[in-house]
């Protein structure tokens, strides 16, 4: 029998600790889990709140500008799917998310479900047995823009993270998730 310290998620713990320290506030366990999980966030919200729904604010194909091209590692001008959604419980918005998905890496089924809308990306991957892994890139606090202020009806600071979902060694999706800093403090 042997023993060794596990440091697999050291970087993620450090990221959370750094944000807490800089901000001068401790986050709740649920907030920390939502910011660091390398699985589907929908699965977590779902068991916490009961039935949740997805509201699609925008979904379209566009040519990637330089910044977006870098996020998903494609050439500038390549077509990507842009999606802007809110996960909510009844009328309460829980998490806002945007995603960029290179069209060249989507098979027809995934594309159809993206366009059909209102299906979370985690669920789309599960429906088609897409094997993947997630790399959390950044965890941070940001000020809300007017859109977020309106959606969440608050001007408080937002907790955010961005990550990529990798399939067949290529970035299939870049996703950013955002929620107000007072969300998930009591659940």
């Amino acid at each position: 029998m042997t023993q060794e310290k596990n440091e697999a998620n050291k970087a993620l713990i450090d990221k959370i600790n750094d944000v807490e320290k800089d901000y001068g506030r401790t986050f709740s366990n649920t907030q920390k889990i939502l910011l660091t999980t390398d699985g589907s966030i929908t699965a977590i919200l779902d068991v916490l709140y009961g039935k949740i729904t997805l509201k699609t604010l925008d979904q379209h194909f566009e040519e990637a500008d330089l910044d977006r091209a870098k996020l998903v590692n494609v050439r500038q001008g390549e077509k990507i799917n842009f999606r802007e959604v809110i996960m909510h419980k009844d009328d309460k918005p829980l998490i806002y998310a945007i995603s960029h998905i290179p069209l060249s890496r989507c098979d027809a089924n995934i594309c159809a479900d993206l366009i059909r809308a209102d299906i979370p990306i985690g669920r789309i991957l599960k429906n088609y047995d897409i094997e993947s892994r997630r790399e959390i890139k950044n965890i941070y606090i940001e000020k809300p823009n007017d859109r977020l202020k309106e959606i969440f009806d608050t001007d408080e600071d937002m907790l955010a993270r961005d990550y990529v979902i990798i399939n067949c060694d290529e970035i299939l999706m870049w996703i950013k998730e955002i929620f107000p800093i007072t969300h998930f403090t009591e659940i």
């Binding site: 697999a8 699965a43 779902d46 047995d129």
Partner: protein, 186 residues
């Protein structure tokens, strides 16, 4: 565009609801999350407790019995790596895990790491950038066997999650995570 979908079906949520009704218990937020997550459980424990440690109770290659063969979709008698571990924080047990990994579906490097190094399977998959899907097969509450009573120093009921990790369209891990129902209540 501004559309709103139907409530999203979720098997884990339904299993939890059934479990709560049948056993007249309410799972805590963290217990529900531990049931639902698709990534490694160690990620959650690290975030909650600082980083946690792994203690390997047993690890060896053995021949798959009928049940293990069925779960891993292999032939009875095929070789599997059996791992029995405890995740703990400073000696306080958090979660007991038992997993079966078909030897023929792992590279030699991974088998070596499983056998010689005390890393969680989650960490090994992370290091090797292995792409997977996870299927939660079952969530149950059971009375503890003597061995687990001794490990946890508790004789109350245990919460058990059974799941399969799929890679290259085939099961590569069949695992159970077990802890007392009184854990992760805060």
């Amino acid at each position: 565009m501004n559309t709103r979908g139907e409530p999203i079906p979720n098997i884990v949520r339904e299993k939890i609801k059934e479990l709560e009704e049948e056993n007249d218990v309410k799972l805590s937020t963290i217990q529900k999350i531990l049931c639902a997550i698709e990534g490694p459980v160690v990620t959650i424990l690290d975030v909650l407790y600082g980083d946690v440690s792994l203690f390997v109770l047993d690890q060896h290659i053995e021949k798959a019995n009928e049940l293990v063969a069925e779960k891993l979709e292999i032939e009875e008698g095929d070789e599997v790596d059996l791992r029995e571990v405890i995740l703990h924080k400073h000696g306080r047990p958090l979660i007991y895990g038992i997993s079966f990994i078909p030897k023929d579906r792992c590279s030699n490097t991974i088998i070596e790491k499983l056998l010689k190094e005390d890393k969680t399977t989650g960490r090994i998959m992370l290091e090797h950038k292995i792409e997977t899907t996870t299927i939660v097969n079952n969530i149950t509450i059971e009375e503890p066997r003597a061995k687990l009573q001794n490990l946890f120093h508790e004789n109350g009921d245990l919460l058990i999650r059974e799941y399969t990790v799929i890679h290259n369209k085939k099961p590569v891990i069949w695992s159970k995570e077990i802890y007392p129902l009184t854990y992760f209540r805060e």
